[in-house]
Structure formats: C-alpha cells, structure tokens
C-alpha cells in the first residue's frame, strides 16, 4: 500500500498524483466501475472508510472521503491518497477547512471518474433534502442511514417528503434478508393476512419500514411493538381463519420460521456488517421503486396517527 499526503493542495494536483501512482504500480488501465463519495466527519471516517474499501472488493471504485473540518480556519484542502491497498481501486481522503467546507463539490467534481456512476453516501447525518445538496446532486444514487440520525424513527418516517428517485436508506437494506425469507414463506400459498406486528428494539428505524412494506404488499394493518432486541426480533402475521405465520430471531443470528400446518424451521438470519449493506446498495444503481412505495406508505401511516 502506498499512502501519499498532499497539504494545501488542489483537485488537479490530486488528480495527477493519482495518475502517477497508478502508472508506478504498473496498472495504468482503469477497471473501476464507479465513484463512491462518502460525506462524513472525522469521528466516523475510520469505520466508513473500512466499510467502503470492503465493498470495493466487489465493486472496484474510486472512494472519495469528504471530511469537513473547522470552518473558522483559513481556506485549505489537504488530501491523503491511498492506492494498492488490499482492495482494488483508489482512496482519497479530503479534508476541507474554512470557506471551502461550503464548496466541497468544487473539489469533488474534477475527481469523479469519467462517465461512470457516482454514488454519495452519508454514513452519519445527512442533509434535509439529499438530492438538492450540492454533493448529492452529483450522485445518481444517494445512500442515507436513518439509524445514525438523532431520532431514527422520525428520520425514516420523513424520508418520503424528501424522496427523489435514486434515494435509498441502509435501514431498508438491512431488511433484505428478512424480506427475502418472508417472501419465500409466501411462495407457498398462506391465505389472507388479516393483520400483524413487527417486533424490534425500541427506536429501530427498520421496524416501521418493514411494517410499511408488509402493510403495502399485504393490504393489512401491521403494528410495531417494542422488544428487548437486538435489532429486529420478529414478525407475526395473523392468517385468516386462525393461525399465525411467524419469523422470530432473538440472538441476531438464527431465526425460526413457523406457519400453520408446517413444522418449525430454523434458518440463518445474521445481522450484516455495513460493508455488506453497502455492497448490496452498489449492486443495482437504478431507483428502488419498492423502497419508494414503502416510505410513502410509512408516511401515510404516520399521517393517520398510527405508530
């Protein structure tokens, strides 16, 4: 691995350093498939970078980490370039000082890979309307994470208001294995669902999303109940004519699926690290219509005063 520090620099100097380093490594061809812009603060930088480089094993990318530092300092751009790490691709950490913190897009634009998709990820706090944010505007896909908001449930409930196709939330990504299992359970006819409940640790933003999705697809009222956690712990759906289809997980790893007239079945359902969530997000870069439907339903449910 080569680390290269540039202080008080510019985007064009960073760009030519990247080209030079690539040639030195004997790999001048660019096999990278996208640019991932990560907007994060200094405290979240390490974890975000780690997850992004892990995800880059599946999707070789140029990773631009944008860190805003003290706006009161004189204007300055510092860059730390890392190439030839265990993952393919390139990493540039950008530290912005002074008035430049307001103009990060001017630094990022010249560093985007030509004619390949741009994905923006806010691992921490995200702007109110991500698609209107100067950096968000550069991306065809914008990844947020309601879990890191001060009030996760409120954050996820308000996503519909700011939704622009291309938005997505890791609180939704965390649900994929749950949704996949539930969908598999419905591959065999279950019967009409009259209602249900999603159980999760209090304040878990994925729970209302799952409830909204189920409510939207099954056309039945789905409640949310608090449990001891960790994370999501269960889904119970009442079948017309009695009986319950349940998927429950108490240890964050192994779940039990049970349904009327069938033996209980245990199935692996582990919580996934951020890198896997991110890799899933990068697999498809088109707007996620199902997510849009779920957040709209969630907003409607909140509007009617149901929790």
């Amino acid at each position: 691995m080569t680390t290269f520090n540039l202080t008080e620099t510019t985007a064009s100097k960073i760009s030519s350093t990247l080209t030079r380093l690539r040639h030195q490594m004997g790999a001048p061809a660019v096999g990278m498939v996208l640019t991932l812009v990560v907007v994060v603060d200094e405290a979240g930088q390490y974890d975000a970078l780690r997850a992004a480089t892990e995800a880059a094993r599946e999707h070789p990318s140029r990773i631009l980490i944008v860190i805003s530092r003290d706006p009161a300092e004189p204007d300055r751009l510092d860059a730390e370039i890392r190439v030839g790490e265990s993952a393919p691709g390139e990493v540039v950490l950008l530290r912005l000082y002074g008035e430049l913190t307001e103009h990060a897009d001017s630094v990022i634009m010249p560093l985007l890979l030509t004619d390949t998709p741009v994905v923006v990820w806010w691992p921490g706090q995200c702007p109110d309307i991500p698609a209107k944010h100067p950096i968000g505007q550069l991306g065809s896909r914008r990844i947020m994470d309601a879990r890191s908001a001060p009030d996760p449930v409120a954050a996820v409930s308000s996503r519909a208001a700011s939704y622009v196709p291309g938005d997505t939330d890791l609180a939704w990504t965390r649900l994929t294995p749950w949704r996949s299992l539930l969908a598999a359970a419905f591959d065999q006819p279950v019967g009409k669902i009259t209602g249900g409940v999603v159980e999760a640790a209090a304040g878990n933003p994925s729970a209302p999303l799952l409830a909204a999705w189920l409510c939207d697809r099954l056309d039945a009222p789905i409640e949310i109940a608090d449990s001891a956690g960790p994370g999501l712990t269960g889904v119970r759906l009442s079948v017309e004519g009695g009986g319950e289809l349940t998927l429950s997980r108490t240890d964050a790893r192994l779940a039990t699926l049970s349904r009327p007239g069938h033996p209980d079945r245990r199935v692996a359902l582990a919580r996934r690290p951020t890198s896997e969530l991110l890799a899933e997000e990068l697999r498809r870069l088109d707007p996620d219509d199902i997510y849009a439907a779920a957040i709209r339903r969630l907003a409607a449910m909140k509007g009617r005063g149901r929790s």
């Binding site: 061809a29 096999g31 990278m32 498939v33 094993r57 599946e58 999707h59 070789p60 393919p88 990504t173 994929t176 294995p177 949704r179 996949s180 299992l181 539930l182 969908a183 598999a184 359970a185 419905f186 591959d187 065999q188 006819p189 189920l214 697809r217 099954l218 056309d219 790893r253 192994l254 699926l257 009327p260 007239g261 069938h262 033996p263 209980d264 079945r265 245990r266 199935v267 692996a268 359902l269 582990a270 899933e280 498809r284 996620d288 219509d289 199902i290």
Partner: protein
Amino acid sequence: MTERKEPQAPAGGATARTGDDLTSAERAVLAAARAATTGTAEPGMAANPLRDPRDRRLPRVAGPCVLVLFGVTGDLAKRKLLPAIYDLGNRGLLPPGFSLVGFARRDWAHEDFAQVTYEAVKEHARTPFREEVWKQLSEGIHFCPGEFSDDGAFDVLAMMLKEIDETRGTGGNYAFYLSVPPKFFPLVIQQLKRTNLAKAPAGSWRRVVIEKPFGHDLKSARELNEITSAVFPESSVFRIDHYLGKETVQNILALRFANTLYEPIWNRGYVDHVQITMAEDIGIGGRAGYYDGIGAARDVIQNHLLQLLALVAMEDPTSFDADALRREKEKVLRAVKLPADLATGTARGQYLRGWQGGEPVVGYLEEQGISPDSTTETYAAVKLEVANRRWAGVPFYLRTGKRLSRRMTEVAVVFQRAPHLPFSKDDTEILGHNALVIRVQPDEGITVRFGSKVPGTAMEVRDVNMDFAYGESFMESSPEAYERLLLDVLIGDPPLFPHQREVELSWQILDPIEEFWASQGRPEGYVSGSWGPASADAMLARDGRAWRRL
C-alpha cells in the same frame, strides 16, 4: 436397517426447542394430512403478494425441497457439490427446511455424513464459514446407507424422504443428483421408479440431475436417454455441463447480444477464424479407469467445446428462456460440417514423458492403470465449419489437451487483416490480426487485441491488448459454476442445461471423427509440457494460420 425407520428428529434440532416438541409433532401430522389432500402449489404459481419483479433486491430462492445425492463419497461431491450447497446457504438462497440426503455404500449414521460435509465445507467452500448457516444446513442433513442394487435401501430412502416432508415441510419436492458412473444410472433410475420416487404427486416436483459423460457415442447416448426418459420426462432431466454455469460463458451472451459494438462484425465479412481452446496442465491423475478408451475428444470437445462453439456462433434467441436458447444452439450444431478430409482436418496426440512446469512427469502409457498399447488420445484438435450464411467459409478450430504447458480455456475470435494498409510494409511488419479473446478460465475476462503506434518518430504499428478482467471490475470471487447450476435445478430453471437433442447432435459431429481415428492406429506423441503434437500445428499451417500461443 429397521432402526432407521423410526422417526428421527433432525440432528441437533430437537435439543434447541423448549417443550415445544408435542406441538411440532402435531403440526407435522397436520402437514402430512394437508400435503396428501391439497398438496403445495408450485413456487411462483399463485401470485405471491410479497414478490414484485421490480423488487430486485430479493434473490431467487428455491422453494422447499430435498436434494438427494448419490455418490457422496466421490471427489466431485467433496470438492464441489457439498461446498456449493453451503455457499448457496450462506448467500441466503436455500429455502428454510432445505434438506440434503446422502446415499452411498457406507456404514454411516446421519452424523457421520454431516461430519464429512462439514469437512468438505471447511476445506473447499468459497464463502467464509458461519456457524448459524452451518447449523441451518446440518439440521437437514440425512444419510441413507446402501447399494444401488439393494431394494431395501431404496425403500428406506423413500420412507426417509416421506418423513423429511413431515418434519421439515419439504412438500414432496425432490431433486436426485446422480454423481455416479454412468453404468449405475440404469440401476438407480429403476430403483427410483420402483419405489415411486420418480413420479411427482400433483403440486410437487421430482427432478434428476446427471453429469457428463452422456454416453460415449450417439448410440450409447440414446440408450442412456431411453433409460432416463422412460422414468423421467425430459423437462425433469437436468444434464450438467459445468462450463455453462461459469460467469464468463454466460457473459458471451451478454457481450454479443447486449452490445452494438460487436454484432456488426460477428460474421464471415470480418472474422477470419475462431479458435476454441481448453488446455490442461495436469495428466489424467487417478481417472485412468474412466479416461482410457474415452479420450480428449469425447471428454471435452463433445460437451464443453461444442457448447462454447454454439454460444459463439448462434443467432440471437428470441428470449433467454430455455426453449429459445436451446433452439438456436441446436441450429448451430446442426449446421456444423466436418472437414472433407479427416486426415488433414483433425489431429490427435498422446503425451510422452517430459517436464511440466518444472517437474518431471511420466508419459500417458506409463500412467498407472493404462495399458502400454493404449491408443486413447490425450490431445485432440478438429477444424469445423458452420455452414450458414453468417459463418460459411470461417473455420472454427477446436483443441483440447492434457499435460500442455499451462491451464487455460479461451475462445478467440480472430479478425481479418485490414483490406488496405496505408503504411509501408516495414511499418506494419509485426502487426498481427485483431482479435477478441474471451478468457473462460483462469483469470476470467475479455481481451481485445489491436494495433497501436509505437511511441517515437517512426510510424511503427504493433499489437497491444486491451483488457477487461472480471476480478477487477466485479466480484472478487464470482459464484462457482456448481452454485449457479444447483440453484437452477432447485428452482427448475433449465436454460443452462443442454437438451438431449444437443447431446445427440454433438455426438453426430464427433462420431465420424472417432471412427476415422480408430482406423489410424496410434496417436502421435507430444512431449509433456509442450503445446501439443506437430500435426496440430501443421493442420493450421496448411490454412496459412497458427494457433495462439498458450
């Protein structure tokens, strides 16, 4: 044997439940009753409210089913099949309740087979080992000891499967994987018929998976097919050619039919010839019993290379469903023409003692279990033509061999030279043909070779490569071919499996060549670690061409 008929809780499963056993037993009875009366609908038949074609995060997951593996002690099972099953589980693609039944002539209990599977997974699985995935898988692992001729053993198997349906909710859906030598096929298939396991009750499915070789000539292929088709309908027979499960091979279709760049030049107007190569650096290893008398052409050309040829040469299918795809492949195979003179249009060889990759190795005739006067070829090359409007006059050169200098499989489409070069002859002296090379393994990817100016004041043009590597632009390790194919079997998705008609057409191409070779005595020797026999080089030299260097 009788002790096996007693109801058995899935290994490890019962201990974790707390006082729930009575209810789950009751549920099992209820499930059995329900299955007997209504049956379970086929996956995807009734509209599933939770599925939506736009919801592309949700993976294709197989419905509840049992995979019965015959020949679990074999090399393929340990190295590929069992690890592939685990990898599928790890990717969340196996249904809850998925069960695996091993059948072999071993005095094993369920736990012993689970242990064998555990070791195979630990050693060969592609994805990291995760305890919870293993737990899910191991609860569904069963073993049925017995010989293929033993009626009792198959009765036990039938009963075991019925029991699994009740305890695991697998709904009578069974896939039988015959990872056994073809001589046992008739026995196993007959047993499945006798025990009524081959016939699916309404609402469930039964599938049989067979591995190559699909016979050793047209006649035996037909005989083999009669055996399976007498018991299983063609739609339930899945013939595995693991090459078709490889990402790069499927990418041939994407490359050709998703792009506009290549299709206009993909014809006799621009293509000079096509070379399809599968080179191996290893010898026959422990496969003497199978390999001797079969040879390279039957082992590789009949299936892998002709399938690659079909994918490269076929017209665009109307869709990617099994019927449309197979129809186009069949048309190409039907259009394949043999060279007029088989003596100059084919080549074969047998490896001799030599050095391969820095190690001394013995010749084919000195291998253990090979008769010293064997005429089996370990290298085969043929020149074929596809007689249709697109390809007439473009030779397709196919070659395969063992103990060559290195391991490599590729398809090279070599283009014609530019009709006129506005450079002096000296400038372009070392300029070769443009070529598009699909590297199937190892280092999967695509290379485009074209001429480029050498920096300097002179206008000198030389060949350069432009490269796309799968490992670089996509997944670090793409799914193993067997993962994809096993999943397709469990889902019941047949496009990647050759139809019996394709198998027969391929034998029709190969049979005359084999007959000719049989009359020609010994194959020509070639030194281990080389690039094959001289006659193969001469075959291309006569056409004014040369093999790509391995």
